[in-house]
């Protein structure tokens, strides 16, 4: 629990969409549609975020300080000026870690109860 602050814990558990968006932004800054595609790819097409769910989550995540809008743009030929790019904040990273830890604990407990396969 080194980098998890009480503030980060207060946001847990994260809504699935929020956690997925954080994961999509873990490697690089992305714009909205790229996030949707990344989430879809990561989940093997299982989760296709709708535009509404995406931007509603983004709005809330901006307010919570999990992500920020970046002013840095990619190379002009790749850029579309309508698009906004989002970047995970250190706080966002902390929250995502805390959530991951929470889920791990949960899975451990589930295993101990014999609910899940794998080593206990």
């Amino acid at each position: 629990m080194s980098d998890s602050t009480p503030q980060a814990d207060s946001l847990l558990p994260l809504p699935p969409a929020t956690f997925h968006i954080l994961m999509a932004l873990a490697e690089e800054d992305r714009h909205g549609y790229a996030i949707i595609q990344d989430v879809a790819a990561r989940t093997g097409g299982e989760l296709k975020l709708s535009a509404g769910t995406l931007y509603r989550s983004i709005q809330r995540m901006l307010e919570q300080g999990l992500i920020v809008e970046t002013q840095e743009r990619p190379a002009p030929e790749l850029d579309d000026e309508r698009r906004r790019y989002y970047r995970i904040t250190p706080f966002g990273t902390a929250v995502a870690r805390a959530e991951a830890r929470r889920l791990t604990q949960l899975v451990k407990l589930a295993r101990a109860s014999g609910f899940a396969p794998g080593k206990a």
Binding site: G32, Y33, S50, G52, Y55, R56, R82, R84
Partner: protein
């Protein structure tokens, strides 16, 4: 794509502005990916659902955020929050209470099947628009009409119930078997009357009210089929009516079958039946009226003497209440609405001022990226939140006020005494609250958010001329509404005083009254009644403190009817000209007990018996009508089946109450009546003048009555003063409520003026400072502020006076002769408003004079 763009409007504008373009872009990509019709349909369905769900979620997010913000702002300014909530509570509470009573009395359908088709039928003669029917006319109307599906009749009666605890006097009705099908109500238990019950000579049957069944018979179901003793005769209980069955009014406790005898149909002038009918489907009240007037015309031709000038009135059952009751309620609603308007104006004013103060805060938020729509929405949420808190409090206020308003529910309707609070009322209060919130919140929010970033620049002073104009208009509206309320309450107050000052014709103070209604046919013989009255009166007169006591058929004001046609040799009997007088049998000493002045001749006496000449004491108004400027003593007239000679003249009594015109009175000696005649007019009300307090007297009186007849119940114990007060009870209640409304309005308007001027002075501090620095005297500054105040007040007063006159015209029927333009009332109201303006502007004016030019300049 256009459709998607339209769909996005479900989102809050701020969200749409922020992300709309990107969402459209994503949607466009998705659509391109979707190949084939089926995929396109699937995409659209998915999108539709997604937008609806997410839009609702975003709205909810915004609302939560706004509410959090509201809670913080209100907590920062508790004074404002408290005032605003209280003002809304007063406005909503006043209107909810007024609505509840008015809806209950005037609007809500009566608790019968198809109530809109129910009417009441009355005979009408010149002078009496609603007179009961005689059995013969009832039978003919029923036979001849084609407008009504069914028609039933009832006669209000009262009987003594004995054998179930203390003897009890009960009000009820003798009804024809076809009455209940008209009303479409089923007994809770048992059955209704059949034609076998209401034929002549059938064994007595009775239906009981739910209350009587519970109270006197313990709610025992086995009572059905048992016999109860009413007025010495056995009646088989055949059923119990439901708890909300109150017919013909809420006093009714039992219903027996009306058994007509053939001789009942002989006299067409013996009017005692109330008739209810159900219109045939598709027949309007107007059509029924037209047909009934044709029928009445035919009967008049057939019976030119008895039915002379006898028409038919058809009145909706819902409308069986006096114009006065209706106006009292409408005036109450109007006044409540005025209070709400003032409350809204006041709050709007408060919010505009607050908006000006908050301009910097709003500008900062705008600079941080909040759109105008977002700010307006936030402020409207704030006012709705205030309204909602006020609304809840207002509902509590209304619920607490309701029991006080039951006096405004007239007795003539078949409804409960107290209005019920149900969904209708809650929905009304809810709607009112929302409208109030929008009413006082939207304009100030729009105005405040017109602010732009310029407010952040140093040195820009808040508040333009336009805002002041809006606020001035609000203050004028407040003054206008308070003038209307002040004048209306003033006029009604003067009307009340005038009515209360009217001489009832008797001295009410110190008179105790109670009713010992004698059972029939037990007391059919006049001699038996004499014996009872003598025993009771002798006993009561011996009680300490009692100076006199007497019996009469009905107390004045408690009973207005009981009239009989008068025949005078010189002026032949003509029913059409309302040659009627109220008829009362009295024992000697009635006039002395009631303090009715004996002006000529003598009182009735114990020696006026059936064997002696038939005599009468008449009222002065009777003499004025028939023998003006002549000595009436020794004159004869036809009355109550006999030739009567005038032996005395007493003062006129307002038998029909303080506000109505009363017929002249004829008092007959209680002994001069044949056995079994004039049952209805048998003396039953005992009046006692005494210096002892009624509670001390009552146990002794009960003992005396008990010893005269063990089975005799006592009912209606009241003082005469209570009866007189009851006359103006609904009025004085309404006036108190209206007066309270006016006071609230007045206070709010004063606060409004004060608030506006204080603000103006604060804002114009620099200008005032400069003026002072340039040599303006205190009186100039004072004049400047006061001029402004009085300009507002005079405009409001002028508008208010015009509206108040119009309101007075509407209320004219309630004003008891006070003119709607009554100068004194208007002068007082205007004077009060000017004083209010002066008081409201005093503090700001003083503050303006005290402005220190140096301090102001330095602050700049």
């Amino acid at each position: 794509m256009r459709f998607y763009r339209a769909l996005l409007h479900l989102y809050p504008a701020s969200f749409r502005g922020e992300y709309g373009a990107e969402m459209r872009g994503i949607f466009a990509l998705r659509r391109r990916e979707a190949s084939g019709f089926a995929a396109l349909v699937a995409l659209w369905l998915q999108t539709l659902g997604e937008v609806v769900v997410n839009a609702a979620a975003v709205h909810w997010d915004v609302l939560r955020q706004d509410l959090r913000y509201t809670a913080r702002t209100l907590a920062r300014t508790p004074g404002f929050a408290f005032t605003a909530i209280l003002v809304v509570a007063l406005g909503v509470g006043a209107n909810t209470a007024a609505f509840t009573v008015t809806d209950f009395v005037l609007v809500r359908p009566l608790p019968f099947a198809e109530p809109e088709r129910l009417v009441k039928l009355w005979e009408s003669t010149p002078g009496y628009s609603r007179m009961e029917l005689s059995p013969a006319n009832y039978r003919d109307w029923k036979r001849m009409n084609t407008s009504f599906e069914t028609m039933g009749a009832l006669e209000p009666i009262s009987m003594n119930l004995v054998g179930q605890g203390d003897p009890e006097r009960l009000e009820g009705a003798a009804v024809t078997a076809d009455l209940l099908p008209v009303l479409g109500v089923q007994p809770l238990v048992g059955r209704w009357f059949t034609t076998a019950d209401d034929r002549e000579g059938a064994p007595g049957t009775v239906l009981l009210s739910h209350r009587l069944w519970q109270a006197a018979l313990g709610g025992d179901i086995s009572v059905i089929g048992r016999k109860v003793i009413l007025d010495q005769a056995p009646y088989t209980v055949i059923g119990i009516m439901p708890p909300d069955f109150r017919f013909p009014n809420r006093e009714a406790e039992f219903w027996t079958a009306k058994q007509f005898q053939e001789e009942d149909f002989k006299d067409r002038d013996d009017n005692y039946l109330q008739v209810v009918a159900k219109l045939r489907r598709g027949v309007s009240v107007e059509q029924a009226r037209a047909e009934m007037s044709v029928i009445a015309g035919q009967l008049e031709r057939q019976y030119p003497k008895e039915n002379l000038h006898t028409g038919a009135s058809v009145i909706r059952l819902r409308d069986e209440l006096s114009e006065r009751s209706r106006l009292l309620l409408i005036a109450l609603c109007g006044a409540a609405f005025c209070v709400l308007l003032i409350a809204c104006a006041n709050l709007a004013n408060l919010l505009v001022a607050r908006g000006l103060v908050r301009q910097k805060e709003l500008a900062v938020r705008a600079a941080l990226g909040a759109g105008r729509e977002r700010l307006v929405r936030q402020m409207v949420t704030e006012s709705l939140a205030v309204a909602a808190l006020g609304g809840v409090l207002g509902l509590v206020v209304a619920l607490m006020a309701l029991p006080l308003l039951t006096k405004l529910v007239p007795n003539s309707l078949p409804i409960a005494q107290a209005p019920s609070v149900d969904m209708r009322v809650l929905i009304f209060a809810g709607l009112l609250t929302v409208l109030t919130g929008i009413g006082f919140g939207v304009v100030p929010a729009l105005r405040a958010c017109r602010a732009d970033l310029s407010a952040l620049r140093e040195g820009v002073r808040e508040g333009g001329g336009q805002k002041e104009r809006f606020r001035s208009a609000l203050v004028i509206a407040e003054v206008t509404a308070s003038v209307v309320l002040l004048v209306a309450s003033g006029l009604l107050m003067r009307a009340l005083w005038r009515i209360q000052a009217a001489d009832p014709g008797f001295r009410a103070d110190g008179v105790l009254t109670l009713r010992t209604a004698l059972a029939w046919p037990k007391y059919e013989k006049t001699a038996l009644r004499e014996e009872f009255f003598t025993k009771v009166l002798t006993g009561v007169r011996e009680l300490p403190g009692v100076s006199s006591a007497a019996y009469i058929s009905f107390l004045p004001m408690a009973m207005g009817g009981g009239i009989w046609p008068v025949g005078i040799a010189e002026a032949p009997l003509e029913r059409g000209e309302s040659h009627t007088a109220s008829m009362r049998f009295v024992t000697p000493g009635f006039f002395a007990t009631m303090g009715i002045p004996l002006q000529l001749g003598r009182d009735v006496s114990e020696s006026d018996t059936i064997s002696g000449p038939f005599v009468a004491v008449v009222s002065q108004s009777f003499v004025r009508r028939y023998w003006p400027n002549e000595n009436p003593l020794g004159r004869h007239f036809q009355f109550a089946e006999h030739d009567r000679m005038v032996v005395g003249v007493v003062g006129h009594v307002r038998v029909r109450g303080l506000e109505q015109k009363s017929e002249p009175q004829v008092y007959l000696p209680y002994k001069q009546v044949q056995d079994g005649w004039f049952i209805f007019y048998t003396p039953k009300d005992l009046v006692i003048r005494s210096s002892t307090a009624p509670p001390m007297l009552l146990p002794a009186i009960r003992r005396i009555v008990q010893s005269a007849d063990r089975e005799q119940p006592i009912s209606d114990v009241r003082t005469m003063s209570e009866i007189v007060e009851e006359q103006t009870a609904s009025r004085s209640l309404q006036l108190r409520v209206l007066g309270a409304f006016a006071a609230i309005a007045f206070l709010l308007a004063a606060i409004g003026i004060h608030g506006l001027l204080s603000f103006a002075v604060a804002q114009r501090g620099r200008e005032i400072g400069v003026r002072i620095a340039l040599g303006a005297r205190s009186s100039d500054i004072l004049g400047m502020v006061m001029r402004r105040a009085f300009l507002l007040a005079v405009t409001g007063i002028a508008l208010g006076a015009a509206l108040a006159y119009a309101a007075g015209r509407t209320l004219e029927a309630l004003l008891a002769g006070v003119k709607p333009g009554d100068a004194v009332t208007f002068l007082v109201a205007v004077g009060l408003c000017l004083v209010m303006t002066l008081v409201g502007s005093l503090l700001p004016a003083v503050r303006a004079v005290r402005v220190d030019p140096i301090t102001v300049m330095r602050a700049e």
